[in-house]
């Protein structure tokens, strides 16, 4: 599964690089606190059934969020992430990915 993830992330890297530069990190921070921290933790370390989002680059996060937004099954608990991602705009995804990648190392 990791190998497939790497491939997807690579594609997104090529397509998405310019978006990342335009990211509004503080908007991402506010949104993370409000819509993501309850599952992934305040510091992104993950907990309980919720995976860590730390230690990833923005392209990886972005690619994942796009997959979930499209309703793709990734891991066994995608059903919990898909409805969250369904509401995200491209801009939200850019901001969140930049914030997560920068802050949660």
């Amino acid at each position: 599964m990791n190998r497939a993830m790497g491939f997807v992330a690579g594609v997104a890297l090529m397509l998405g690089a310019s978006n990342v530069q335009a990211a509004d990190i503080s908007a991402g921070e506010a949104m993370y606190a409000q819509a993501c921290a309850q599952c992934h933790g305040r510091t992104g370390r993950g907990m309980a059934s919720f995976p860590s989002v730390s230690g990833q680059d923005a392209e990886y996060i972005e690619a994942r969020l796009i997959q979930y937004r499209e309703g793709e099954q990734v891991g066994p608990n995608s059903a919990l992430m898909i409805p969250v991602a369904a509401d995200l705009s491209d801009e939200n995804i850019t901001d969140l990915s930049a914030f997560i990648a920068k802050t949660f190392q």
Binding site: A35, Q38, C39, G41, R42, T43, R45, M47, A48, S49, G75, P76, N77, A79, L80, I82, P83
Partner: protein, 426 residues
Amino acid sequence: MSSKIVNWPLGAVMASVLSVGLPAAAFASEHTPNLSYETVLSGLSDPWDMAFMPDGTMFFTQKCDGLSVLLPDGEVNNLLGMTGSDGYASTADDLFCEGQAGMMGVALDPEFDDNRFLYVYSTSSMAAPGTNRLMRFTVSDDLTAVSDRTDLIEDVPYKPEASDQPFGGPGAHNGGRVRFGPDGYLYLTTGDIHGAEVPQSPTLLGGKVIRIDRDGNAAEGNNAPEGFDPRIYTYGHRNVQGIAFHPETGQPITAEHGPWHSDEITALVPGGNGGWDPRPNMAGRGDCPDGYCGYEPVQMEAMDPAERAEYMPMTDFETYPDAMPPAWDNNGLSQGMSSAAFLTGDQWGAWNGRMVVGLMGIGFGGTPVGQRIDIIDMAEDGLSVHDVTEMPLPMGSGRFRSLVQGPDGNLYAAIDEGDIYRIIPE
């Protein structure tokens, strides 16, 4: 630890006498306390439960790491590790974590001073395809090691494979709280493992509250129906992660995690049925995804919780008219109700004698996240609540996994994020 042993019928009489005169007279002058907090430990990984010695020594579990003890001087001794953890005095290689499963509840024997017995509940690979086990250990006098492992219960079911459910990965719904009651018996709460047959099964130990003595024998008076495993105290539960004992009546009260609706607080009666039965092709339901109806009729999308409750009730009174009624159902919402404890002592002012429950909250399908501690004024008969108030938290909120009142009278709270706090009333 020092809970009074109250004989139940007497306790019940006292409670009903008290209820006549109390509210106006005794509580009128009492205030709700102001709360402050201290961080006891931080940077933990999924802390799951705590158990205290009278001097404040705190044993604690981490789901994927194992059992440790925090000494009064602040030093931590790591006692019992599991697969993949390092730095523990000993390691039990059969213990492992997966999804919600791993090392969970911990309790000390009421006679710990004499027998040094500690009880811990963990997932184990010793018997295929994995089970949850309740183990007893002896703690060394210097608190540096545990030994003499005795597996009191070996076969609480574990979910070995993913299924088509929310939180559908392996390891779902193990329950996991371990507590001694004022009756001197050991209670273990378990979960349905996304197994439709499990909660109402007379022999499978999932979806139950189990009551045994310190050697693992069924308690006297469990009163489970004919043909049931005599260790079963109550059955028909979904995923019970909280159990606490009413300080006056001694009655066990559970806090249970609902599906996409209805977390429940329920006062237990011996042999009682919680009324959870997620089997397909019954109670008006047809087939369900992977044979489990627990999140139906719509498992992955938002839906009015009341409509869900109608279709797949937490307590199905139609099928089981004698089911134990919940005292409170979190206003029909599921927000991950987990641990429960009673606050006792004058330092809690108007909250003396109230129950606290921790909610972990994820905010699925339009339900407010609701990570919080609720303070519940239970009716003496356990059948309803007089009042539910949200605790004004002195620290930030989090996924409240475990609540325990310490021997100092303060409330200890563990959150999945990795902190254990001491909440101090003034």
